[in-house]
């Protein structure tokens, strides 16, 4: 164990959330819950990244009163990266949800194992 676990509590929470999402993605049989797990996993990574840019006692990186000194603002890079990441995660979840709808219409089930068994039965 390193020295910084209690100072980095935000990252620790992010890691725990990441693992919860990961477990959901692996173990849930219901597709909708898998997708929620996926979203939680993504959010956890973004939380981790946003914590990286935070500097205590400084304000958001929007120039006020023409002050452009480094001491005034937090690091803007992680915010930008997370902004990009959120777009990616919303696109991915829309895609997954559309796949779910199609599978349900065809097989009336949300369980992948069950669908696989139906496919086997149909022999296609």
């Amino acid at each position: 164990m390193g020295p910084n676990l209690w100072i980095n509590y935000g990252e620790a929470v992010a890691a725990i959330l990441f693992c919860i999402g990961f477990t959901n993605l692996l173990l849930q049989t219901n597709l909708i819950k898998k997708i929620i797990g996926l979203n939680i996993m993504d959010s956890a990574i973004y939380l981790f990244l946003a914590e990286k840019g935070y500097i205590a006692g400084r304000t958001a990186p929007i120039v006020t009163d023409g002050i452009t000194s480094v001491e005034a603002y937090i690091n803007p890079i992680p915010s930008g990266l997370v902004l990009t990441g959120i777009v990616v995660s919303v696109s991915v979840s829309a895609l997954m949800l559309s796949l779910t709808i199609r599978l349900y219409i065809r097989y009336h089930s949300l369980d992948l194992d069950e669908i696989a068994a139906q496919l086997k039965k149909e022999g296609r």
Binding site: K52, L95, I115, A116
Partner: protein, 497 residues
């Protein structure tokens, strides 16, 4: 700066932009645009390759008005240009070879969407090849994943949709792990550009700070990319996805999409972490073991299969095992063998998929071995091509597969400790390959076949036959004139450092 230096940027932007254009075009025009774009990008990459061979130096290209640590960059060297050229050739041939099947399998009003996906896939592959920035790589990995998923599910039967869901779940696990590794790496070094990260990593290794996070970050990125490129334990989605999608999709997915991720991994090993540092970690042993397991289990599953497309798909699992075994050796020679195997496998696997569709066509559309009996006589071109591909896979001299196996064996001999395991598994795997491919070849040339199916002559399938011919020629070129290509790969890898 010479005008040629703009070509990597042009090729990425043209293929991105053509995706947007295809969304408003009717199907015929979209197809034309797609072909022209792939050809144009191929030509540009070819010119770029010649230029780079002339100068012998790689260059970076600013994406914007700001220099290295602030702006975004792409970078081109011999290996990058060569890969881009090769990807374009394979993609063009696969599209041309599978075009006649596309119309049977995809809803008519959605054909132009298929071309959009192909264009965006091409742009993301090019961006993965050329990029010099880790976060850009992540964004384009996502484009690659989503468009590959689209390619799988555009043929809307139950199997492909289920395969697409499985593919997405595995891929997203991989992306998540990759992104987490990337974030840790960013926290340690404060940079996102590959060359800057490498400097910082070297400093960190020297000072001995942050050793644990560094290793964890590298491991997470590696695992993420391994999952995405279907290394052995993570291959559950692969047979359905390759076996039931349209034939062009299967050829492109198996020969390009997974190779794009592997190429990114090579870039990370060389340009982000540094080859020596990477080889001093335990990660290469893990890659080596999983590579060996994949080689054996992939082949065993392929032997059990009695569906020709799924058999070829399982064979991909084995071949990806070869590539990771090459990484696991931890020597320059192993790496060269892996890169050569990327080329050889891409050329052979797409040939096999395209030839298999020719064989199933003359067997009433069935893919079961029992129906394929004698198919080689009914469709001579496809039969010959399939035989050539099988011989290459097994590793018969004259074909590309032989050279890559030779390179792997040579590399294995140089590594103490891993030599015995690598050589034994290489031998076993070759025998297994021979069993299932030769079984198929004998089957398609058996004389007891059902004669009620129609025969197909050259006239009926000119394009298909010409594409197959090109693929065979490509294979033989890779097999016969391997020395200059190996030299080029070595030169390119040296440029990476």
């Amino acid at each position: 700066m010479d005008f040629v230096c703009n070509f990597p940027f042009f090729s990425i932007l043209i293929s991105l932009f053509s995706g947007t254009i295809c969304s408003v075009l009717p199907e015929k025009a979209a197809k034309a645009v797609n072909r022209i774009v792939i050809a144009a990008v191929g030509v540009m990459s070819g010119i770029l390759l010649l230029y780079l061979l002339g100068t012998g130096e790689s260059f970076v290209y600013w994406m914007g008005h700001f220099p290295a640590p602030w702006g975004n960059e792409i970078r081109a060297g011999i290996l990058e240009a060569g890969m881009a050229l090769f990807f374009c050739i394979i993609m063009y041939l696969s599209m041309a070879g599978g075009a006649h099947k596309l119309f049977d399998e995809v809803e008519e009003s959605k054909h132009n969407l298929y071309y959009i996906l192909i264009n965006l896939l091409l742009s993301s592959l090019l961006a993965l090849v050329y990029t010099n920035d880790m976060f850009t790589a992540y964004v384009f990995v996502e484009i690659n994943t989503i468009s590959a998923c689209g390619l799988i599910m555009i043929r809307q039967v139950g199997r492909t949709i289920e395969a697409a869901v499985r593919y997405m779940i595995m891929s997203l696990l991989g992306s998540g792990l990759f992104l987490f590794g990337l974030c840790i790496m960013y926290d340690l070094t404060g940079h996102l550009l590959m060359s800057n990260i490498k400097e910082s990593v070297a400093l960190l290794i020297q000072s001995g700070e942050y050793q644990i996070p560094l290793i964890v970050s590298v491991a997470l990125m590696c695992i993420g990319l391994c999952i995405k490129s279907a290394l052995f334990p993570f291959h559950a989605w692969l047979p359905d996805a390759y076996g039931y999608s349209t034939v062009s999709s299967a050829a492109i997915l198996s020969s390009l999409v997974s190779k794009g991720y592997i190429f990114l991994l090579i870039k990370i090993i060389y340009r982000v972490i540094g080859f020596e540092i990477f080889n001093n970690t335990r990660i290469i042993d893990v890659l080596f073991v999983f590579g060996l397991l994949g080689m054996i289990f992939g082949s065993l599953s392929a032997i059990k299969e009695n569906d020709i497309r799924r058999m070829i798909a399982y064979s991909s699992v084995a071949q990806i095992g070869y590539i990771y075994m090459g990484f696991g050796m931890g020597t320059q020679a192993g790496m060269v063998a892996s890169v050569f195997h990327i080329l050889s496998h891409a050329a052979t696997k797409s040939l096999l998929f395209i030839a298999a569709i020719g064989l199933t066509e003359v067997s009433g559309g069935s893919r079961k071995f029992i129906d394929l009996t004698g198919a080689g006589y009914r469709n001579k071109w496809a039969g010959v091509a399939f035989t050539a591909g099988s011989l290459s896979m097994v590793g018969v001299p004259l074909f590309s597969g032989f050279i890559s196996k030779l390179l792997f064996a040579q590399a294995a001999v140089q590594v103490e400790g891993k030599m015995l395991a690598a050589l034994i598994v290489l031998g076993i795997s070759t025998v297994l390959n021979a069993i299932y491919f030769m079984k198929t070849v004998i089957r398609i040339y058996a004389t007891t076949g059902d004669t009620s199916y129609p025969c197909i002559t050259f006239k009926d399938m000119k394009v298909h036959a010409i594409v197959l011919l090109f693929f065979i020629v490509l294979n033989i070129i890779l097999g016969v004139s391997s020395q200059p290509i190996v030299n080029m790969i070595e030169q390119g890898l040296a440029m990476f450092a």
